[in-house]
Symmetry: C2
Subunit: 204 residues, 2 copies
């Protein structure tokens, strides 16, 4: 389900759920005064090029800025499917064993949570035209379990932003990423390190 609502003067396009909506194929060009949202017709929103905040290049990631990156719900079937492929521990794949286990029920693999969070960052925070990938994370924590039916809200805050000394065409952005469940409980926290191209006309 997609919800449209105003946010800080920009028309926000927010995605709820992890699957690309059928609607996306029809939203070829959806624009307002300052941002063009472009969606390719094939494979839903896979190639969305400009995020809602107009974050395009390194220069746009201003120290201290916080961005709400939307939300995603997680259900039991997807928890089990992911974990059977990548993290087949009893409390991720077997509802009966999980009920008698340390969490009193099925919980999502932390890697599943991280992957869902990443999806929202790609859609709402990382600029496709300048993202050069990630060196990794300085910290990754799962302080509370994620359970079937939870809806996670993701927020990204720029905590470090500096030009590369060795490669002047890029900068390093460090981001604290937080995911909270519907009751406000933090379920994931990470400090990610990303490389981004500087704006071509920004000079060396």
């Amino acid at each position: 389900m997609w919800l449209f609502f105003g946010f800080g003067g920009l028309c926000r396009l927010r995605k709820h759920g992890s699957n690309c909506p059928q609607l996306a194929g029809e939203l070829k060009y959806f624009c307002n005064a300052s941002v063009i949202y472009e969606f390719a017709g094939h494979r839903g929103c896979d190639t969305a090029r400009v995020n809602d905040y107009g974050l395009s290049y390194f220069d746009d990631y201003v120290l201290g800025s916080t961005y709400e990156c939307g939300s995603v719900s997680i259900d039991q079937a997807s928890i089990i499917a992911f974990a059977k492929e990548f993290d087949p521990q009893p409390f991720h794949v077997d509802p009966v064993a999980a009920a008698a286990g340390p969490y009193g029920g099925l919980i999502a693999s932390g890697w599943h949570t991280a992957a869902l969070v990443m999806r929202l960052l790609v859609e709402n925070y990382l600029a496709a035209e300048s993202s050069l990938g990630s060196a990794g994370l300085d910290e990754l924590r799962w302080p509370h379990p994620v359970r079937p039916g939870d809806t996670l809200r993701v927020r990204a805050t720029v905590v470090e932003s500096r030009r590369s000394l060795s490669k002047p065409d890029r900068g390093i952005v460090k981001t604290v990423v937080e995911a909270a469940s519907q009751d406000g409980t933090t379920v994931m926290r990470a400090a990610a390190i990303n490389f981004m191209l500087v704006r071509p006309d920004a000079g060396a």
Copy 2:
């Protein structure tokens, strides 16, 4: 494909590739003098209970010990499929765009690499009978890209091992996890924090 070969006096059962082999369903009980390998017949190796090294409880994770955790190959189709769901950046999902991009070709999402590594840890290192999940990681790095056709070898080293002060039934194991490609290049490094039950007869 499964390969059997001797290793330090133990018969090693090593998995190559990320999918559970059909063979696994037939290996109901495979044992030697010191270790029992048990595989449930349904859903391949999802419910393997005892890992190759006989790591069962916190007490078995000895500081400084290193464990080879097998290997996994990654192909272009799986790289694209994972990334389309979780990390749809051009250099993960679009071979043409990737060829012109910063890596000169398609590379795997770091989260895909991490998930594949996790699978090998669950199968070869984390004890199903005592694993209580993970608090997270102190560090996660992807120093070199993973490309289609790469085969990653995973190694786990216990770098910290201490009993919990507040919950005497468990201990905290910190593990440095390293994944290297076929030419020895490190493609992932992590410091994971896991909670494990102490052996029931070990006392408080």
